[in-house]
């Protein structure tokens, strides 16, 4: 029994009404709590207008930002993961793939599109974190490879937007070798004299960092993204000390010399096009 009881429910809090607002109409920034309509948020490339917090977005959203007129042709859109090792942990891998496809509407953790960026041809590959943590298995490697082939065929730049927890354990050795495969494809792109731009977004870690994400002719990042090889928890367990503030942030990685520049998502397309114009 509390000392004070509210006589008239809902006068100040409007609990009932709040619940009735359909989800998805409003966006509240998790950092600064600034509220905008979802439409406004999307118009601002899913970046908070108040504090510039970059909301995590998927490949379709990136493509809508990057490709002129939101037009692009998808490469290998139906490709799906096989289960070469018949891997089973608490779930079997086949079922995990099936439920993830149903839940996310995605086929795997990488989407590849061919279109125009500021009137110039480009192939953009983009990872989807929603698909098993953006993990790299055979499909990611094969689509990446096909993207590079498409860039060589069209004689245009290849851009990859990374967002990944690293390797896909359920493909074990196959997953590890995708690091080798994607790097091998990049030697072919380099031999063709075509630019490779790596864009690192929150988060980019593990085998993706230790292969194609760090191999750009330019490595570019969105602000305040987590970028590292080992995850912060693993590093903390290793050194048995708290991590310094800003450890493994884009700004930290830039400061240590592994990024060419950091650019806000709202300015990314322009800067990218300008950069590519110098590499023609």
């Amino acid at each position: 029994m509390s000392w004070f009881t509210r006589k008239n429910k809902g006068i100040t809090t409007q609990n009932q009404e709040k619940k009735e607002i359909p989800e998805g109409l409003w966006y509240q920034c998790p950092e600064c709590k600034h509220v905008v309509t979802s439409e406004q948020h999307a118009e601002h490339d899913w970046v908070c207008e108040a504090c510039e917090y970059h909301e995590k977005i998927g490949s379709l959203q990136y493509f809508s930002i990057f490709f002129d007129e939101h037009e692009w042709i998808e490469v290998a859109e139906h490709m799906k993961s096989a289960d070469p090792l018949t891997f089973t942990d608490t779930k079997n891998y086949k079922d995990r793939i099936k439920t993830t496809i149903a839940k996310t509407g995605l086929k795997d953790a990488l989407r590849v599109g061919f279109g125009k960026i500021e009137h110039e041809n480009a192939v953009v590959a983009c990872m989807d974190f929603a698909f098993i943590g953006g993990s790299m298995g055979s499909v990611v490697g094969e689509k990446f490879a096909m993207g590079v082939d498409k860039a060589i065929e069209a004689h245009c730049p290849f851009i990859c937007i990374s967002k990944s927890g690293g390797a896909r354990m359920m493909e074990a050795g196959f997953s590890l070798m995708q690091m080798a495969k994607t790097s091998a494809k990049l030697t072919q792109l380099a031999a063709a004299g075509l630019p490779y731009i790596s864009i690192l977004t929150d988060p980019t870690t593990g085998g993706v960092t230790a292969s194609f994400a760090m191999l750009g002719d330019l490595n570019i990042a969105e602000p305040k993204a987590l970028i590292g090889f080992a995850g912060p928890r693993v590093v903390k367990e290793t050194i048995k000390k708290d991590l310094p503030a800003g450890f493994q942030s884009s700004e930290f990685v830039l400061e240590h010399g592994f990024l060419d520049y950091i650019v806000k998502r709202t300015e990314m397309k322009k800067r990218l096009a300008l950069t590519l114009s110098h590499l023609k």
Partner: protein, 318 residues
């Protein structure tokens, strides 16, 4: 052999019986040599039986056997006094977890590079348990470029529980260092042979693992993660490491069947730790035979085949 793994206990018991017989022979002067011979035959049979039926997890244990030969021991045995160790990445420091230098094998100068583990507590820490920092991978690349300049083949010996996940490793770009090696090793103009001699854990192993021939010693493992870490992540505790070891298909046989490595080098009976010199001889023979094949190819053809081999790895549904 002094240290026995749990599943080797029948061998240990037989060896202890032999010891006892020998002692009683000395003490009492009784002739027991036929009994000893029988027991020695039994040891061979038992070892053969155990080692022909190792589970994936048992192979992982053998790959980590404390008496198993490490990189330097193999190099020194194979190169017979001609090994000249080199140090440093020319940028930050010398990584003691990664060793390298030229040595002769079969009349040829070869650049040997590999992770090095320590044999005792002090050396284990000195070698950082075989976990290289970025400067280790950069030292390896520097030496590979040196070999390329003088047209000498490269042999890497892989034995690592992983690239070191420390704070300074992150500061100095562990991811970039490994990535750079993958890219550069793809197009090295000289023959490259990579051999897993112990643990082949993830990117830390692959960082010196791009070659025309990737071979595994019989009792080693190679995968994207260790069974313990896999169990922790997928099952949320380490109790499932045995299942994880099986699920990862990390043995030499499995990796070969999945075409992710090119061959297996047999170990002496009871594993490399049972006879390090014989293991080194097997290694040397495998290196020479691979070099003989690879030297027949032109530079262009060889690098092309290397790149195409890695590009073909992966299984998808269209």
């Amino acid at each position: 052999m002094e240290i026995y793994l749990e599943f080797e206990s029948p061998i240990k018991e037989l060896r202890q019986q032999i010891e006892k017989l020998r002692e009683s022979e000395k003490k009492n002067g009784v002739d027991v040599h036929t009994a000893i011979e029988d027991l020695e035959r039994a040891v061979v049979e038992k070892t053969n039986e155990i080692y022909s039926n190792l589970t994936p997890w048992q192979r992982v244990l053998v790959s980590r056997h404390p008496e198993r030969p490490y990189t330097l021991q193999y190099i020194e045995t194979m190169t017979d006094g001609t090994w000249v160790e080199q140090h440093g990445d020319r940028t930050v420091k010398d990584d003691k977890a990664m060793v390298g230098g030229f040595g002769s094998i079969d009349g040829r100068s070869v650049m040997f590079i590999g992770q090095q583990k320590g044999a005792n507590t002090k050396m284990r820490s000195y070698r950082n348990f075989g976990m290289a920092n970025p400067e280790g991978y950069r030292k390896a690349l520097r030496l590979m470029k040196l070999a390329e300049k003088f047209n000498k083949p490269i042999v890497t010996l892989i034995d690592t529980p992983g690239a070191f996940p420390g704070l300074e490793a992150e500061e100095r770009g562990q991811g970039e260092a490994i990535a750079r090696n993958l890219f550069e090793m793809m197009r090295l103009k000289v023959p490259v042979i990579c051999i897993i001699i112990g643990e082949g854990a993830s990117g830390g192993a692959l960082g010196i693992g791009i070659g025309d021939r990737v071979l595994m010693l019989e009792n080693t493992w190679y995968s994207v993660i260790s069974p313990e870490s896999c169990s922790t992540i997928l099952w949320r505790n380490t109790d499932h490491k045995i299942e994880a070891a099986a699920a990862l298909k990390l043995t030499a046989d499995d990796m070969l069947a999945n075409k992710l490595v090119d061959g297996i080098i047999r170990e002496p009976l009871g594993g490399a730790h049972n006879n390090p010199n014989s293991a080194a001889l097997h290694l040397k023979e495998a290196i020479i035979s691979a070099l003989n094949e690879l030297e027949k190819l032109g530079v262009e053809e060889r690098t092309q085949q290397r790149i195409e081999k890695f590009c073909a790895m992966g299984v998808v549904q269209q």
